[in-house]
Amino acid sequence: MISLTDFLMVSAALFCIGLYMIVSKHNAIQILIGIELMLNAAILNLVAFGKYDKIANGGQVFALFAIVLAAATTAVALAIILNVYKKYKTIDPGRINNLKD
């Protein structure tokens, strides 16, 4: 029997690693990976609590929704990254510092 606290601990560690990546990286792709890690931490929590919801299946269904949301986010973010690369020839968010004109 795996306790809920164990799942919450793994998820908290994952969330903090994602937070570190978002704050410290100089590369839009790695920042995106950090966001995915944080989303996965949230999904792990949903799934862990969903074990105790047999009739309504709230946790598992919303975990599925969160996965779909993550896929949509990634598609749009990658389109934006490619456009930014075409315009600035870099994907370091710190060096993208002027508006359209």
Binding site: F7, N27, I33, A70, A75, V76, A79
Partner: protein
């Protein structure tokens, strides 16, 4: 310690260790491929939480879809990225990463405190479920139930997410088109 528990600790260790490697390595390609391992181990954790369908979806969508997208973005913008990475090859933990590390560690300490305080196994509704023996058992089949719930109880969020997916699809295609051809 049962087999499930041993597997849980193994999977949890793989998840956290590979995520740490993803966060710490300078090599973007290695970090993307270690992210692959993180996602697979997370799918294993979902199986151990008795959510097989979510685990399969994770493998199909994350590993099959999102990771391929990330690899595409890396390859289409890769050369410059590698140059940037070559320049900042320096100490193991450089000083400008220190605030980020402090932030993450402090946040982790706060989260651990909160998790210790709420003691999730003793929450009211979870105790109720356990005493009624109504939690999901390893030999239950939940996929029928998930399908029925998706089409009845969660129909509105399901439709909302489909509209959002369509919007994201159109938006991504619009953003990624060639300039000039309106």
């Amino acid at each position: 310690m049962s087999l499930a528990q041993a597997l849980f600790y193994l999977m949890g260790f793989i998840v956290v260790a590979s995520a740490l490697f993803v966060a710490s390595t300078k090599n973007l390609v290695r970090s993307i491929f270690m992210f692959f391992i993180t996602l697979f181990a997370l799918a294993g954790l979902y199986v151990l939480a008795l959510a097989d369908f979510v685990a399969i979806t994770q493998v199909v969508i994350y590993v099959g879809g999102i990771l391929v997208l990330i690899l595409f973005a890396f390859m289409l913008s890769g050369k410059e990225t590698l140059n940037v990475l070559q320049q900042q090859k320096s100490k193991f933990i450089s000083l400008n990463k220190l605030p980020a590390i402090v932030l993450a560690v402090l946040f982790f300490i706060v989260m651990v405190n909160v998790i210790g305080k709420i003691n999730a196994g003793n929450l009211g509704w979870i105790k109720q479920v356990i005493s009624a023996k109504a939690e999901i058992k390893p030999n239950d089949e939940m996929i029928n139930n998930i399908g029925i719930n998706l089409m009845t109880r969660y129909l509105l969020p399901f439709e909302a997410i489909s509209i959002l997916l369509l919007t994201a699809l159109v938006g991504a295609a619009h953003l990624a088109r060639k300039e000039g051809r309106a």
